[in-house]
Amino acid sequence: MDHTDEPALPISVGWRDYLELTKPRVVALIMLTAVVGTLLAAPGLPPLDALIFGNLGIALAAASAAAVNHVLDAHIDARMARTRRRPLPSGHLSQAQALRFALLLGLASMTLLVAWVNVLTAVLTFCSLIVYAVVYTVWLKRATPQNIVIGGAAGAAPPVLGWAAVTNHVDPHALLLFMIIFAWTPPHFWALAIARRRDYERVQIPMLPVTHGVELTRLHVLLYTVILCVVTLLPFMTGMSGLLYLAAALALDARFLWMAVALKISDREGLPMRLFRFSITYLMWLFIALLADHYLRVVL
């Protein structure tokens, strides 16, 4: 075998390994939703300490949860092509190093939130962290094909957390944002699970396509997409958002629905992965639209 093309393994522990431990791209999307939560909570600019420390605290907690997830899943990651090169299975970091790092991030997060934001945000953030890092990773993920549906609650929490950082209570409008992400998670995740079902099969994670087949998963993706479309219209209905958001939501929903239908009726090879990638773009633009709409209404 010829290994000359591969980069040499770093000898020392690099900051890049620690960075990867935090799943920066996932945390980036989570942070977008949390920041939108903080910005939507006030008519103009929210208090800067809530905006900065609140979101920093949420980001640190998300990063900590990601690191814990790396530790708990290291043995699975080692057996899947997609994840084999992660810092723990590749041996760049030890489990103890990763856990210490996660603990540090978690403590920093809680300190920030309790000291400079509010206790409610700290408590909710802590609960989300535990639900994702422990309840989901340790138990749900291996227990039921509904794993990501239930676990989605943790991923849907950030806008509520961001909102609570400003207002110090759980606002009904924030729960709308929660519902959007909660309904978005199943089609998003199951599209990936269809694409990667062999991997999940090998490591015996009971993802829906593994336990109930690809066909039923496609149907579920389509049905959850319909729910998602309905839920994304609620911000307009309740008067939280205006026409700009409605237009963006309808366009994005049409595209999502179009792709979910294509996935349901066609066997073409790349569709699940394309839907998965689009679902990320979808959520990004949807939250950007919420934000743009919010400030448009402030300006007008």
């Binding site: 307009f236 209905m237 008067g239 409605l246 929903d253 049409a254 629905l257 179009w258 239908v261």
Partner: protein, 347 residues
Amino acid sequence: MRHATLARAVALLAFLLCLGVVVLGAYVRLSDAGLGCPDWPGCYGHLTPAAAAADQHTAVDPLDGRPLQIGKAWREMVHRYAAGTLALLIAWLAAMAIAWRRERVLPRAYTLGLLGIIVVQASLGMLTVTWQLTPLIVTLHLLFGLTTLALLWWLVLTLWRHRADGWPERTRARGVSGGARALAAVALLVLAGQIALGGWTSSNYAALACPDVPTCQGSFWPHANFRAGFTLWHPLNVDYEGGVLAGPARVAIQLVHRLGALVTTAALLCAAAAALRAARPANVRRAGVLVIVLLALQLTIGVSMVLRGFPLWLATAHNAGAALLLLGTLTLNRALTPLRPLRPLRA
């Protein structure tokens, strides 16, 4: 310009103007400007509200003493000017269909039928005013307006498909199931019924009967008087602006419109799902998604109206949404219906 190109351009122009006239008509009605000019075709006997306002003698309606309100009068008259222009455009289409009948640039009977409908619609427009907003006439005025819009859109789609696909031997039903066609036709009928109920709701001022959703006055089955709510004919020489029915009758109307929304949603979703499932041509699938998106839009507007306390712009948008949903459903039907030749096939 080639005759066919000109006919297509005029048809498209007429369609766009018609969409504007329909939505403007809704705005006139919803802003209580329907009786802005209590006579017809003039306004207090003049061509424009400005001229009427300048004339001291005619600034009060001789019949019921309603004084001229210049803003409402302008809204009503702009609707009439635009509708008149539309009638001229349709007359032009009819003239082209007759003059160039050998070239068959337009379906002749169809275009003449359109002209007949616009005549009926103009008469209904007159009765709306002179019979002081009798609910049945107002609803029929809406339905004929939307029929005009629907026929124009169907004409535009047909002409455009002829241009894109050439002549019909290639376009006959490619992989389209009869089931999908039947469902689309049923959905169109159900939608037409729901639009009629919507018109009835508006013309009886029954929208505000239920200030909450999904419940009505806090109950899923509130006290309602269906017999009174659906008495179609009411005596003339009564001013119906603001509505005359008692609360329970209005609740009945609003309730049926809401139940109609459920039935329509089901029918449209079935039609769209059949189109998405059965059809290979991309235009059928696109039309299916279009129907779903427009349905979502219209339901959103409907629920928002109630939740946000019936702002004028949302009420107008609910009318525009109904028009768009109708157009989307027609697009689906057109995509599923084989094209018949405008002129005989050459051997």
